[in-house]
Symmetry: C3
């Protein structure tokens, strides 16, 4: 992944695959645009003609409700037409390759593909094969990246604690299976977060994680000390092979976020979770629904962030730098 894929020769944002190579100014500009769409969503008529006549294809090779719906709503509010294709009804089952599927859809003069796939690098692969007027947005690929999720989390933090330099952000949970975690770390570093911590059982920590410049804890109480932001990860039970955690009950006892544990953090700590939450597994119900939780705000921001990315990519954006 290098910036020449995401940013065209004319300085425009062409694809949105990963935050790692994007300049900080561009990320902040996307956040500012997203903020403007937040107010918009509470209006009586939540529709602008920005992308009228454009066609967005939701290409989900891996099932998803939340992310797919958010992209669909975002595209429709921008007046684009949306075509949704889920893996079960797709020609890849007839032996067609992913690139042939994309070429075919692109020949229908579609403008943007929102791609989710269980293999890391799929969105990048596709972006390298489409002509310049076709845009790719990564909606999650394997364990690699989920950049719009990271972006919406940054927006959620920035709305409440705009000065990233002073922040201690703690990411708790199943880092090994989480594409969210990786994108998150990358975005936090880009925006200059003061300290990034990972709290996880030893078996769920990928090798080489320290190289990313994060502090690693296996004890939750210790890791939460004076935290400004807590990002809980979803326990990806469906992706686990073998016995990586002793039992769900054990996991909750050591790594579940309870009200008691929350007291280790700063009094105004924010609790985030990408959803869907497993109540009583990684997070107590009272914390998920409590005053520190910004989980539903993340969802609202998710629509706004996707509107921002789509309108930049399809509506045209010229990088000033």
């Amino acid at each position: 992944m290098s910036d020449d894929i995401q940013i065209g020769t004319d300085g425009r944002l062409n694809h949105f695959i990963s935050l790692e190579e994007l300049p900080r100014e561009l990320i902040e500009e996307l956040l500012t645009t997203a903020d403007s769409f937040i107010d918009f969503a509470t209006r009586d008529t939540k529709k602008v003609p920005l992308l009228r006549g454009k066609t967005v294809v939701n290409l989900f090779f891996e099932p998803s409700t939340r992310t797919r719906t958010t992209f669909e709503i975002a595209a429709k509010r921008l007046s684009a037409d949306v075509i949704t294709m889920q893996s079960d009804g797709m020609s890849t089952t007839k032996g067609e390759t992913i690139l042939d599927t994309v070429s075919t859809l692109q020949a229908m003069h579609t403008d943007t593909f929102v791609v989710r796939h269980s293999f890391s690098g799929t969105a990048d692969l596709i972006a390298r094969h489409v002509p310049q007027h076709v845009h790719i947005i990564n909606a999650g690929d394997g364990r690699y990246s989920h950049p719009t999720q990271a972006l919406l989390d940054m927006l959620t933090i920035r709305q409440r604690k705009p000065n990233f330099n002073n922040l201690t952000v703690v990411i708790v949970g199943d880092v090994l299976h989480s594409r969210v975690a990786r994108s998150e770390i990358s975005a936090l570093k880009k925006l200059g977060a003061g300290e990034i911590r990972i709290v996880s059982p030893r078996t769920l920590i990928p090798t080489g994680l320290e190289a990313l410049g994060v502090r690693i804890f296996t004890d939750l109480d210790e890791g939460l000390k004076d935290a400004d932001v807590i990002v809980m990860l979803r326990l990806q039970l469906e992706r686990m092979e073998g016995q990586l955690i002793p039992s769900e009950r054990e996991y909750y006892r050591y790594y579940g976020l309870t009200e008691e544990r929350l007291k280790n953090a700063k009094p105004d700590v924010m609790v985030m979770h990408p959803g869907p939450i497993n109540r009583g597994l990684e997070i107590a119900s009272s914390v998920a629904d409590g005053s520190h939780s910004v989980i539903l705000s993340q969802v609202s921001n998710g629509v706004a962030v996707r509107m921002a990315v789509m309108s930049k990519i399809m509506g045209g954006f010229r990088q000033s730098g």
Copy 2:
């Protein structure tokens, strides 16, 4: 269920969960609005911008073709955006509760949920948990209620026989498994129907049915005597547990509506059925397609009624009373 859920403190219709608690004037006003949408549907351009910029979520935890499609068409004709979620692709399979699913979707600033679920009371439960600007429409819950179906049936009757007081309405069939029957009885009583009869095999009559003020028959010929309106229920073969009916052939012999049997009713009797029909099981083909049948008119009215409910709820309605 009490009216304070469906009708807000400002007198507006907020949710549409059940007809039982709604005032008769409101039901009649909805029917009148629906009537105005009937003419509209035969126009060349069947689209009004009433709900432009609104987002309707079809939340079907139980599969349905007809009802889902009717709501989708109704919403699109009102220019709303429609998001459809069927149970198989939903996060509830990932262990998320229904209320979390709804909270998440509502955080995307969606306006109305059209909910179908196999558990009675689901729509009501959801309505009690959403903020006031979010609306719930019950599209069928368990054996409890299917209020838009009852409303479209009332419209179909009123178009042909506006004076309910004189009418003898006969509901025939599987009352035990039918949410249609219960909603129907409630609506008919509300509109002052002269006499309501139930004809059903003894095994398919729920206990306590007499308390609703209906006359119960087990003999079809007797029950049809001088009927103005016949409402055939669909035999819910897929919902039956155990041997409630001896055999399909036996059922048809005793409870199938044939041309011969129809002669017991008044000469201008109307034959209704919520569909999909089982030809030769609860109704003879010649009756379903015959001159007394208003089955397809019910379908057309179904779109109009759903447009009426959605436009009242989202477009704003102030109860005069």
Copy 3:
């Protein structure tokens, strides 16, 4: 099938079921209209209000990605509302007949049904039962017909080689299971193609094929001699019962289109394929992606042709003849 079904008493095109009975002038007019939609698709705003307020129902009793998507995109670009119904979620599983399903949907005041079914003649059957203001478009029925595919292929040829009289067109492959082949032959004859050849293993040639006025070859090199256009058929592995071909490897050795074999044809030969392609089975990757291939152009033309058919049918067309 006779023209009175497709063309109404007023000379309008009412349904689009099969090319066989349509006058040549009408086919050419559709091609010319489609051509005008080609330029349109490369515009910034690919949307015209031609069918605003119309409802198109995609009624797919057989799964399809490409065809369904193309129709959906075509309808949306014409500003129609689209309702998609795939077989798995349909009432036919509840025992409702196809005609009842269609009657019900038509009672919702829908305007056009795009029908795909695995039984030959389904679209025709439906067209004979709907009222005159409802239109049926055949999106592929059994082994019988796939007229929009044939139409888009004719458009693809005409754009490059407008003089059909001089053309030698070679159709290669699984003619037995291909509805494309049959529609193709019919369209080519209608437009006066010079010579039509079929190349196929003996086991995949339907009886009576010669009667259609085509030359039959079992040797690919021989059949390709001086060809202007090659239409490769998809090997319908999923439809084959029994051992009609010895093995995939054998098939490719004798009937796969390779660069070597292509040399038998004219230097400016066009290679077509309805997709999805089986690379290395019926066609070499280098040929599919090579300079003679017009496969992606066929896809683009597919959207344009479906827009042309829909706008003629719903927007109104008066046959001059």
